[in-house]
């Protein structure tokens, strides 16, 4: 007998749009215990759960959900952590609609199980219990591991290898650990305290964290290999792209990385209590349609903008951002100018951007990515006033490490080449993964890469076989 299923997800309560655009606090509140148990009971506990195949780290989804349904939240979080050391992060930022939830059987008739929200619930529940138990670390192997970059990929490798008894040191160029989770994704979407707690946990497990250490400059990979047995490169994709159109170097034109780094890492939203300033534009245009663009647009609102436009050259359907971010942005009053491409920025006498010239686009034949290629419509140019522009059209890996490591093979976009099965690079004793290999990807894929590499690194450390 089929049980009666509620067709839609239990909604998650959130800050009303009017209030939240004035503060930096997290937007959704998360489920209560009751709501979580209700949502968990929507899961059919499939014999062959398709959802697991949609998760890059293969979390036992029905397993942890079943524990929530039964009210055993500790068991749920333990089950999650077998595969994912950052459930509080992934529950919040994974593009679930393209991963686990996309292939949940319920989608055939109804809305899928809210797997991400349940994952978040379990992790938040654990956090609310106070201190985490630090696992007993097996005896030391005497092997030394250097991890470069403390983003989700690096953190995963650190967690896996410290638990296997190796001595792990993590080098980070910036003054805070966490990678994009800290310098890029805003507080209102992912509270930094969550990331710091996970980092603190790793430090308690014995991971050594060295901040302000720019590998390639402070020490090269070869220098690190003199004192470490193996190296993992998880330096992300931090090099911002610009469009190379006239006026891009005018004052008031930002890269997304600069805008978000000022706002998040440097806390410019608290200026002048914090020293780093940011331009608080009134009329802001954000170029691009991904998560990064949504984050910039919503940040601009919170910095006091009166009008924020997302300017995207394809249509709504092709936008790569998570559905939830698009909904939130729309709810907050962000204006979407789709099928629009900026071609020129125009400055005032003091070299501040004051206008932007755009051209309208239409969708043509599908391109290599399978999405329909946008083509400019002749004569559709128009000029609109702006005082701040944020360019969020993508980024590629930073060349500092490849430039100083000649025997490390890189691809056309500067991405480090690594074997997808093992994470091995062309350079012995060096592994790589995450955005530095894939270009801009996702948190969970970076973590998946970290897991794969950690396994291979451990094997090498124990057998000496490359």
């Amino acid at each position: 007998m089929a049980k009666k299923i509620q067709p839609t997800k239990i909604p998650m309560r959130e800050q009303p749009a009017k209030e939240r655009i004035r503060n930096y606090a997290e937007v959704p509140y998360g489920y209560s215990e009751k709501e979580a148990m209700q949502e968990a009971s929507r899961c059919l506990q499939c014999k062959r759960p398709t959802c697991i195949q949609g998760c890059p780290v293969e979390i036992d989804i029905p397993g942890f959900i079943d524990f929530i349904a039964k009210g055993d939240f500790q068991a749920a979080i333990d089950r999650l952590k077998e595969k994912n050391i950052l459930p509080a992060v992934c529950g919040r930022v994974c593009p679930q609609e393209d991963q686990c939830e996309k292939v949940c059987v319920l989608t055939k008739k109804y809305e899928p199980v809210a797997i991400g929200r349940l994952e978040r619930f379990a992790a938040d529940w654990e956090r609310a219990q106070g201190s985490m138990s630090v696992p007993k670390i097996p005896s030391q192997t005497g092997k030394k591991v250097a991890i470069i970059g403390s983003g989700p990929g690096g953190l995963t490798v650190a967690g896996d290898l410290i638990k296997l008894g190796h001595a792990v040191t993590m080098f980070e160029a910036l003054h805070e650990p966490g990678g994009v989770l800290v310098y890029g994704i805003p507080e209102f979407r992912l509270p930094k305290a969550i990331v710091y707690r996970e980092v603190d946990y790793l430090i308690e497990c014995g991971v050594k964290l060295v901040l302000d250490f720019v590998v390639g400059k402070t020490a090269t990979i070869d220098q690190l290999l003199e004192s470490y047995d193996v190296v993992y490169i998880g330096t992300g994709a931090g090099l911002p792209w610009f469009m190379n159109i006239p006026g891009e170097n005018l004052n008031g034109v930002y890269s997304a990385n600069e805008y978000l780094t000022r706002a998040n890492l440097m806390k410019a939203y608290l200026f002048p209590e914090y020293d780093t300033p940011i331009v608080r534009g009134k009329s802001v245009a954000v170029i691009g349609g991904g998560n990064v663009a949504m984050d910039c647009a919503r940040t601009a609102l919170r910095l006091g903008a009166e009008q924020v436009h997302i300017v995207y050259r394809r249509s709504h359907k092709e936008m790569p951002a998570r559905l939830e971010e698009i909904h939130h942005a729309e709810g907050e009053g962000i204006i979407f100018d789709i099928l629009t491409l900026p071609i020129k920025y125009i400055g005032d006498k003091k070299s501040w951007v004051k206008e932007m010239e755009c051209i309208k686009m239409e969708l043509g034949e599908p391109d290599a990515s399978g999405r329909r290629r946008p083509v400019p419509i002749d004569g559709s140019n128009f000029v609109t006033p702006v005082d701040t522009v944020v360019c969020a059209i993508g980024q590629s890996p930073n060349p500092l490490i490849p430039q100083t490591t000649p025997d490390l093979k890189v691809g056309k976009w500067g991405n480090i080449e690594a074997d997808p099965e093992t994470g091995k690079t062309s350079k012995p004793r060096c592994w790589a993964g995450g955005d530095v290999v894939r270009g801009g990807a996702t948190v969970i894929l970076a973590m998946g890469d970290g897991r794969v590499a950690a396994r291979s690194m451990h094997e090498y450390l124990m057998t000496g076989k490359w």
Binding site: A173, L174, H175, L211, D212, F213, V214, K217, T218, A219, T220, Q223, G238, L239, P240, F242, N244, E248, N249, N251, G252, Y254, S255, N257, E258, T261, R262, M266, K267, F271, P272, E273, Y274, D275, T276, P277, V279, K350, S351, N398, P399, L400
Partner: protein, 274 residues
Amino acid sequence: MYKVIERKQIVPNIHLLVVETEHIHKNAHAGEFVVVRADEKGERIPLNLVDWDERSVSMVFMEVGTSTSKLAALKPGDEIATLAGPLGKPTEKSEGKKIVCIGGCYGIGALNPVLRMFKANKNHVTTIIEARSDFLLYWRERLKEHSDELYEITRDGTRGVRGHINDFLVEHLKKSKVDLVYVQGCTYLTYLASETTRPFGIKTIVGLNPIMVDATGMCGVCRVTINGETKFGCVDGPEFDGHQVDWDNLLSRRKIYIREEVYSLSFYECERYG
């Protein structure tokens, strides 16, 4: 946190800062810089390396805004929140050349490792340091050690040659054969020196100081236009050919936050002095 070993005012508004670190000296070269952040709420600012050894690095800075005021208030034993480096591309090496090196304000200190490197590579080094007045010139003995000749220029004539750097430079270039001019200091000085050497067709390398945040090539705020192309000051520079720099763009980009900087400084001073 990084321990301050020494902080002293060398001449009015210009300070020496020596901070403990074991990491930076190993790969440090002339022309490179570090990023410092005075405290947990501070801004990341770039400062040239003026010296280094196994346990410390030294910087010379001019007190202008909030960040440098915070640094100027440090005492030995205090700590700063961030010290990262060495960053940027090293000064290009040359050998057996006739080189004129020019420094003004904090750039006088920044010349130190560059002169040392040029001298060690058997170049003939003529050093010119300039300031408004005698009491603002410093480190003449220290720089003399790595120079074949050293000239001092003051605008009021209280020491050395009276006048402006450009007048002196023109006379000098007319008299002597010079292969390369190298300049460190504020944007006005680097600009003026570049425009002065341009008619002579002498290659002129300048240390630029665009605004920076991460200083690792991640944010792009430091972009400068060189020969019509956009470059990132922190990783492609900070030294560039002065004849290729788009000075208008550099000068206007340096002013992006002027309003906020003034506000920030008055906020800091209120907090500190009440």
